[in-house]
Symmetry: C2
Subunit: 484 residues, 2 copies
């Protein structure tokens, strides 16, 4: 099928889908979840073969994918995400009457979604981008990730079945295979209204540039990863070196370091970066069973990046794994805050089970380092209760640098929930005003629209006088579930 | 002052301003409103001299400017715009506990605001962009419009006074004069976080391109105008030709046609485009007292555009005013839907008191025309009650083309209220997911941010357990004003 045919099919489907009642859209999302569940072990085994990810991890990822679809379904039924807002007419206002104005978010139109290599389920065919775009009322044109085509086909079939069961047009979700050129043509197609992407900086930035250069530019929501620094405060380290190192190592090792939220930088007080912390960190990384990475290119890029660090001025490799074709051995490097400040390249993500410990001399140096950070998905501060309470200045700096700030725990394990932000300032994403995980992700694919003096018959259910679904709306400045 | 010094001052101010309690930000906005009021007649007379706009219009515009500031103040006090969202911890969840997650919108940082020529008060120094950026918690670096420097200085002084009265740093609002090169350098400055602009397509698109090409791209909210088509349905015209023509003419003439929402296109049934309608339209335009335009360049561009229409294939000039240096005489042209479809240039805005009547043969042609429209701020449908109820197909098409759809009245006279959308698909704006009028405008300058497992002491008031300001928040998926 030609690109024109694909987008025309999507536009045709959009005509019907955009006006579907919220409950019907919710039903579609739940049916997709059910159909994915019914793929059973075949899905897990296929994903395992294509991604090398362990079955246990894939089982978790499938659960996440399904829960995500159901979370958006419940969001649609609740309805407040639409920000429905009504200013009633004031016909006798002077000097001029106020007309009846009713605003809500409406879907943008067909969205191009790119699959991610590191999440064959949760960030791919029926992943977070697809779920949030469908929830917003947008048809999806999905560009398969070439690393897991069979997994993608299975999920695609599940979505097709769900569309049939719900008696909805198949143009609501279309599946496209191909290389970079296909992706480019999708982004450049005049009928595409937005793009969602999770992957490398290079890939995301190229898509962003293409989208900006279109005759009609469109928004691109590219999540391009980050190094997710952990800032360890001095008091916290006392007697905790071993425990902190273990916690950091576990987070680095998760998924062979192939998570966007893998903590690649640990700022640690120089005076405490002693044997206990560094040796434990290295030991935990060394002792972990080496696992296969997603594919050979990712693995060879990983070792290539490590080689660069070996010879990097001021960088000491504490743990350097032997190169392999597919197995990603964990690595640990060390440098000082002064070196790190002098070499902006040390901010670049090394995609794999790697971290760099950066030792800092004092509070001032720590704040200097924080100020120089580029945009991140997450930052983490580890401190004693007392240290955290006094960390206002560091917190003030770091909230300008990331989308999520943690005060305990590790950045990996991104919760799919209402309050999550999985985004952050460039280059973590191309649009810091968005998230790709959690219910707020739906806002990426919608825009405000106002009906002025519209007959009741032409209004969407959420803006009609009688509020049949008891949606929360702002009427003349007051949030209410009332009808008018 | 150098650009670096300006932005450093803004960043310093941001450090304090971003953490200010909502009530204190509201107080600042109300104090600015008061100080503008206290400028008294001097402000109106200065604006009149610089813009040629009548005093009555400027009095109205001042009222709008002041009310706008107060509306944002009340929005801040109400607080639901922050979309504060809390997912409480579930420590005993298996397989992994859920951490405490708290999200709200936080300000982007220093925003560059460009003044607009056609609204020396309401879209300039303390206009809607400034008001919404300040409300969001962002410092403003305001680039004065060269057409009304004295007006701008007066308002700047009022804002300075307000900052002093509120004991807030003057870096919260800075005023910069200069030409295009100054604007470019502001947009390109590494510390700028967003840009707001109201003006021509050429100007807005140039800013958008610059912002996309930065090493760290930033969002641009450029409102670049539109032709605001009115679709008149056949039944509605019966016996109403005169009244419809009068209403359209009044809207075209408002502010010498220098409103972004001036209706420049009227689609009218060919069979009814008779003497009554066309003659009345021309007569009302001809009989209006000719008024001065904003400045000579705008006036000469207007007559230049009209000259192009004179010689345009298939276009008949029904009313062609004599050229003048500063006075903008009203103009009326006529063409057919077929001609209009063949010449995409006829979609371009002619900035001034001008409209084109496009006659259509039947419903099918009308829908064809609607489908070919580029992005608009507004579209308007005039029909009988019966016609409107049956206009679903046209409505479905037009909602993809604009930010506001009217079913009665005229697009000029944009209400500043909660439910307004003054935005729309490109080229009406560079970001259809935004509005530059109404309270939703605040969302342009904020981004979601999540605190994970944060101590109460470090949380903003709106995310603390006890909800001191009774802000509406979504707690575990439920909207509530409760504390935790």
């Amino acid at each position: 099928m030609s690109f024109d045919a694909i987008f025309t099919k999507a536009d045709m489907a959009f005509g019907r889908y955009k006006k579907l009642h919220a409950a019907a859209k919710a039903e579609l999302l739940r049916t997709i979840a059910k159909e994915i569940e019914q793929l059973g072990d075949e899905l897990l085994e296929t994903a395992h073969q294509e991604s090398n990810l362990p079955l246990a991890r894939l089982t978790g990822e499938r659960g996440r994918t399904i829960n995500q679809l159901r979370l958006f379904a419940s969001l649609l039924e609740e309805g407040s995400w639409l920000e429905a807002t009504i200013d009633t007419a004031i016909p006798d206002r002077t000097p001029i009457p106020r007309p009846d104005l009713r605003r809500m978010l409406i879907p943008l139109g067909p969205v191009v979604v790119f699959g991610a290599s590191n999440f064959p389920l949760a960030f791919s065919t029926a992943g977070g981008d697809t779920a949030s775009a469908l929830a917003a009322g947008c048809p999806v044109i999905y560009k398969e990730h070439p690393a897991h085509p069979k997994t993608s086909q299975l999920v695609y079939r599940a979505i097709q079945k769900a569309l049939q069961r719900c008696e909805l047009p198949e143009g609501i979700f279309q599946h496209v295979s191909g290389g970079t050129d296909v992706g480019q043509q999708l982004v450049q197609h005049p009928q595409a209204k937005a793009v969602a992407f999770t992957g490398s900086f290079k890939g995301g930035k190229a898509i962003f540039d293409l989208a900006c250069q279109r005759p009609v530019p469109i928004p691109v929501f590219a999540e391009m990863g980050s190094v997710n620094p952990i800032f360890v405060l001095p008091e916290k380290t006392k007697g905790n070196g071993e425990q902190l190192a273990t916690q950091a190592a576990q987070s680095v090792l998760l998924g062979v370091g192939q998570f966007c939220t893998c903590p690649g930088l640990v700022f640690y007080p120089a005076s405490e970066a002693n044997h206990t912390f560094l040796e434990t960190f290295a030991e935990k990384l060394r002792d972990a069973p080496a696992e296969k990475m997603l594919h050979e290119t990712i693995c060879s890029n990983y070792y290539q990046d490590l080689k660069g660090l070996h010879t990097h001025e001021g960088v000491e490799m504490i743990l350097a794994p032997a190169e392999d074709v597919l197995t990603g051995g964990a690595a640990l490097a060390k440098t000082t805050a002064q070196q790190w400040l002098q070499h902006p390249t040390l901010q670049e993500e090394v995609f794999g089970p790697y971290a760099m410990v950066v030792t800092y001399e004092n509070q001032e140096e720590l704040e200097q380092v924080a100020g120089k950070l580029q945009g991140q998905l997450t930052c983490t501060i580890w401190g004693t209760d007392n240290e955290l309470k006094q960390a206002e200045k560091l917190v003030d700096t770091l909230r300008e640098k990331c989308g999520r700030l943690l005060f305990s725990g590790v950045p990996t394990g991104v919760e799919v929930s209402h309050a999550m932000t999985h985004g952050g300032p460039f280059p973590a994403t191309t649009d810091s005003r968005s998230t790709s995980v959690g219910t707020y992700a739906i806002k990426r694919f919608a825009r405000p629209f106002t009906f002025q003096s519209a007959p009741q018959e032409l209004l969407p259910a959420e803006l009609k006088d009688d509020n049949p679904d008891k949606v929360w709306r702002t009427i003349n400045g007051q949030l209410t579930q009332d009808s008018i």
